[in-house]
């Protein structure tokens, strides 16, 4: 038997068997004795003053156990509000969410009361019996209107709607523009829609009075953060709160946020003295789960005669929604992303965040980076059009080069350290994508297609992704008495294969026996500190900790075995689940080493070693590992119907060393699919009264199998110098360049019609309108 490699291998996922046979365990699959079910009364108004909430009739309905408003919860709470915004000096207003609205509602879907009943059916019946007496107030439905003088205010008590403002600035941007011969200006609108994990949010809470333990099964990306907040809000010790994220049916960002429902359901379980379950339905997901929505940009680029970028400046207006549920990080990422992949010597972006009477905005997969990428790539297309140069050539002249790595940018991350692009060869990545995407021969193909009346187009876009947000994510590795390798981490799996990833990293140090590794994630009782899954951080942060802990435990196991086998450590190797003397039949099982290190009362430990065969590592990394890549897409546009078909899409990609190339492919392709939705389909609509008008999958379009092209992925591996594994994150990479590359390709398909597109998503109606607008005004083109 030989020791095997698991790191870097396409091993099967350890998650799959249960999920394929219907034995997964999602929150709604858990049923507890005496369990009750909850339904939330949500605001039908975008903005209203609440006069009275009369629950009498609802309480009288048979099967209803309780109807709770904020007044009922207050005795159990240390505060009425969720103060969860990340620190930033840029806030101008404090807008924390109330745990339940009691005097004012500020978006459709805001929770006001909760019904606890014997079934969800009855709880929903009771919702109709609650009398909500409220006076509608003026509504802020559009972030562009929000900052105008005399605009209605999203909250009655606030003086204005400017919730935060900041700028990202370096160099001498105005001087650069004053000296530049070519300056181009463009306005962009970008919309990113909603998370739409196939499993919505869901919570099951149980409070065991005899143990004084609150247990919350929660479909969340951040159980450890939730544990700390629940303890704070309910006046409990952290040891009295356990949060478990069981199988999670997708996250995509919104589930990293802590929601009012989590503390309300927990408190309800304490009040009704029975387990309470709340499962979000799809309509609730549309109306009350955080989204990413709208950004409006007004940007200029200055270039020299060789198309080298001299500077970029402009403004970004960001729709923040009605409350601060996360922070200023999305527009921060957006403004930071614009100049990242390219050499941009002078830069200033003035950013304003406006309150609106809509669901709070927090990160969706990509977290503002796709928008920054879109702006930069559209600007470079404009430069190419103006100077009559090849779009890829304009990019090649400006991309950060391999000889500049590591490349320090004059921009700080939110923690205060400078952005350092750690590794990669961006121009080579672009060239690889161009070659695989048929860039050089495309003009002829396009001409031939046009002769047949077909409009085909090609686009290119480059991106970088900041991954591995620090400071740490703990992992414990322990060898049990049975010889199993037990791995526990606060890393949280929501479908990416996190357990498999951790098992591969650990098994690499223990003979490559992945079946011998048991991974526990997303359970605060298994790991009491940490953050969870977001920002493409877990392979980097938890992977690094897993590697470190596994190395420590491996070294200790070998040292103990050398005492037990009376052999030199360098003569020992771990094969399967045993440690053997190389070239002999002498061995000891890992389980027996673990037992020996557990000790026997009254006896010395082997070699007087420290007891126990386990280690916890919390590898600290502050700098982010930057994944990078290039996309080339070919589309066909039907100029009669406006339909855009994606015919071919190549993504050349570098996420450092790959722990499992199959899982990397899956993450990238899934990200691309999300990006195609953002480019062509996904629009979370509101009317002029801020009433949501896309609240089901008939109105809000997710991409399906028939719209998805085959994706060709090209991998290159530039190891990150920032961690021992050389890995970079990958979860959000695929999504970042897609809206940019598709819109570029659509514009190219309409070459000759002089259609210019500066927004996404672009619907068939948008395409037709853009064509019609140009035809109406031929003199301007």
């Amino acid at each position: 038997m030989k020791s095997r490699h698991t790191f870097g291998e396409r091993v099967s996922r350890i998650e799959d068997d249960a999920l394929l046979t219907g034995r997964g365990r999602f929150v709604d699959d858990i049923a507890l004795p005496g369990m009750t079910e909850a339904a939330f009364l949500r605001s039908p108004y975008a903005h209203a003053a609440i006069r009275r909430i009369d629950v009498t009739a609802a309480l009288a309905l048979p099967g209803v156990i309780a109807v709770l408003t904020l007044d009922d919860l207050r005795p159990y709470l240390t505060t009425d509000k969720l103060a969860v915004g990340m620190p930033s000096p840029s806030y101008r207003l404090e807008v924390d969410r109330p745990i339940l609205a009691s005097t004012e509602v500020t978006y459709v879907g805001e929770p006001i009361a909760v019904v606890i009943a014997t079934s969800r059916y009855i709880a929903e019946d009771a919702l109709n019996l609650i009398a909500l007496d409220a006076d509608p107030l003026e509504v802020v439905a559009d972030c562009r209107e929000a900052l105008k003088p005399g605009a209605p205010r999203a909250h009655r008590a606030l003086p204005h709607n400017l919730v935060a403002e900041f700028d990202i600035t370096y160099g001498q941007v105005d001087a650069a523009f004053a000296a530049a011969k070519t300056v181009l200006r463009e306005k962009f609108w970008q919309h990113r829609g909603a998370g739409q994990s196939m499993e919505g949010r869901g919570i099951l809470a149980r409070f065991d009075e005899s143990e004084r333990l609150l247990t919350l099964w929660n479909s969340t990306q951040t159980p450890n953060v939730g544990q700390r907040l629940l303890a704070d809000l309910l006046g409990l010790e952290e040891t009295e709160v356990r949060v478990i994220a069981p199988d999670i049916g997708g996250g995509f960002g919104p589930k990293l946020v802590f929601y009012c429902e989590e503390v309300v359901i927990a408190a309800a379980a304490m009040i009704v003295k029975a387990p309470v379950k709340w499962i979000e339905d799809r309509r609730e997901h549309f109306m009350s789960t955080t989204q990413e929505r709208d950004q409006y940009w007004d940007v200029e680029i200055a270039v020299d005669d060789d198309a080298r970028v001299l500077g970029i400046r402009g403004s970004l207006l960001h729709d923040h929604g009605a409350y601060t549920a996360r922070g200023v990080n999305i527009p921060y990422n957006s403004a930071l992303t614009v100049p990242l992949a390219y050499n941009v010597p002078n830069y200033r972006m003035d950013v304003k965040l406006a309150l609106t009477n809509k669901v709070p905005v927090t990160p969706i997969r990509g977290a503002g980076q796709p928008q920054g990428c879109f702006v930069m790539e559209r600007l470079l297309d404009r430069v190419a059009q103006k100077l009559n140069l090849d779009r890829a050539e304009v990019r090649r002249r400006n991309l950060v080069r391999a000889d500049q790595m590591p490349c320090t940018k004059e921009i700080k991350l939110r923690g205060g350290t400078f952005v350092v692009l750690d590794s990669g060869d961006y121009p080579a990545s672009q060239q690889a994508a161009l070659d695989a995407g048929g860039w050089s021969g495309f003009a002829e193909r396009q001409k031939a297609a046009r002769a047949q009346g077909r409009h085909i187009g090609i686009g290119v876009a480059n991106y970088v992704e900041g991954t591995g947000r620090g400071p740490f994510e703990p992992v414990r590795v322990r060898v049990s008495a049975s010889g199993k390798i037990l791995v526990a981490s606060s890393a949280t799996a929501m479908g990416q294969g996190t357990k498999t990833m951790l098992a591969q990293v650990v098994a690499e140090q223990f003979g490559g026996e992945i079946d011998n590794v048991v991974v526990t994630t997303g359970d605060t009782s298994a790991m009491s500190s940490g953050f969870g899954g977001f920002n493409s951080r877990q392979a980097v942060m938890a992977g690094s900790s897993a590697h470190s802990a596994a190395m420590t435990v491996r070294a200790k196991a070998i040292q103990a075995a050398s005492h037990l086998l009376e052999a030199a450590p360098e003569d020992l190797e771990i094969v399967g689940s045993r440690i053997q003397v190389v070239g002999s039949d002498r061995f000891i099982s890992l389980g027996d080493v673990s037992r020996a290190l557990a000790g026997i009362a009254g006896y010395r430990l082997p070699g007087d070693m420290e007891p126990g065969l386990e280690a916890t590592a919390q590898v600290i990394v502050h700098d982010m590992a930057f994944s990078s890549g290039s996309a080339v897409a070919e589309v066909e546009v039907d100029v009669e119907t406006g339909e855009v078909r994606v015919k071919n899409l190549v993504l050349s990609h570098d996420c450092g060393r790959m722990i499992n190339p199959t899982l990397v492919d899956g993450q990238v392709i899934g990200g691309v699919a999300h990006g195609l939705g953002n480019a062509l389909f996904e629009w979370m609509g509101y009317d002029s009264n801020a009433q949501p008008i896309t609240t089901n999958f008939g109105e809000y379009l997710l991409i399906t199998a028939t719209e998805m092209p085959a994706i060709k992925i090209l991998h290159s591996e530039s190891p990150s110098p920032l961690n021992a594994l050389g890995v970079k994150g990958v979860g959000e990479s695929g999504v970042i360049p897609i809206a940019a590359v598709i819109v570029s390709a659509v514009e190219n398909a309409l070459e000759g019609l002089n259609v210019r597109l500066a927004h996404c998503p672009i619907s068939p109606m948008d395409v037709l309108k853009a064509i019609a607008d140009v035809r109406k005004a031929p003199s301007e083109s």
Partner: protein, 163 residues
């Protein structure tokens, strides 16, 4: 709901007889999940678009969220729990999903497996485009469908070789 709106039903689920007294408004999906503890059938949208709750009723795919349990009285339902062998061994389709990374979070997977199970039952000569059209009623947010389509084509090839 009043007592008069409850009704006794009997049906076959994965070849085994099941009986329950249910509210007439109980959906088939909730009946499977709550009454029969078969939680492999998932609810993703409850308005018949996402396809996560797809089960087979007398061999034909239905949305278990849009159908009442009482409508299934006397009929045969097949769910994801019935796909693997009695020994727990994955069937050809399930194994292909595992081999081709056809699932990530796994929430939509049961519905997709049931859609393909119906599809494969009488049409062994499907093309990739046929598979994509068949899957167009099932939404997956994780995979971009490529692994799913690859798995389906691989399973088809293996099934054909057994014919």
């Amino acid at each position: 709901m009043t007592g008069a709106s409850r009704r006794a039903i009997k049906l076959q689920v994965n070849g085994k007889p099941h009986a329950a007294e249910v509210d007439v408004r109980l959906t088939l999906a909730d009946c499977l999940r709550q009454e029969f503890k078969l939680t492999g059938t998932h609810l993703g949208c409850e308005h018949g678009v996402c396809g996560a709750c797809t089960v087979l009723l007398d061999g034909q795919s239905v949305r278990a969220c849009l159908m009442l349990a009482v409508q299934a009285d006397g009929r045969a339902v097949a769910t994801v729990e019935g796909l693997a062998g009695a020994d727990g061994k994955l069937n050809i389709l399930q194994q292909a999903f595992k081999d081709h990374h056809g699932l990530q979070c796994g929430f939509c997977t049961p519905g997709i497996l049931m859609t393909l199970t119906e599809c494969f039952a009488d049409k062994p000569d499907l093309t990739e485009q046929d598979i994509r059209v068949a899957l167009s009623g099932n939404i997956c947010r994780c995979t971009g469908y490529q692994g799913i389509v690859d798995a389906a084509m691989d399973a088809l090839r293996k099934m054909r070789s057994l014919l």
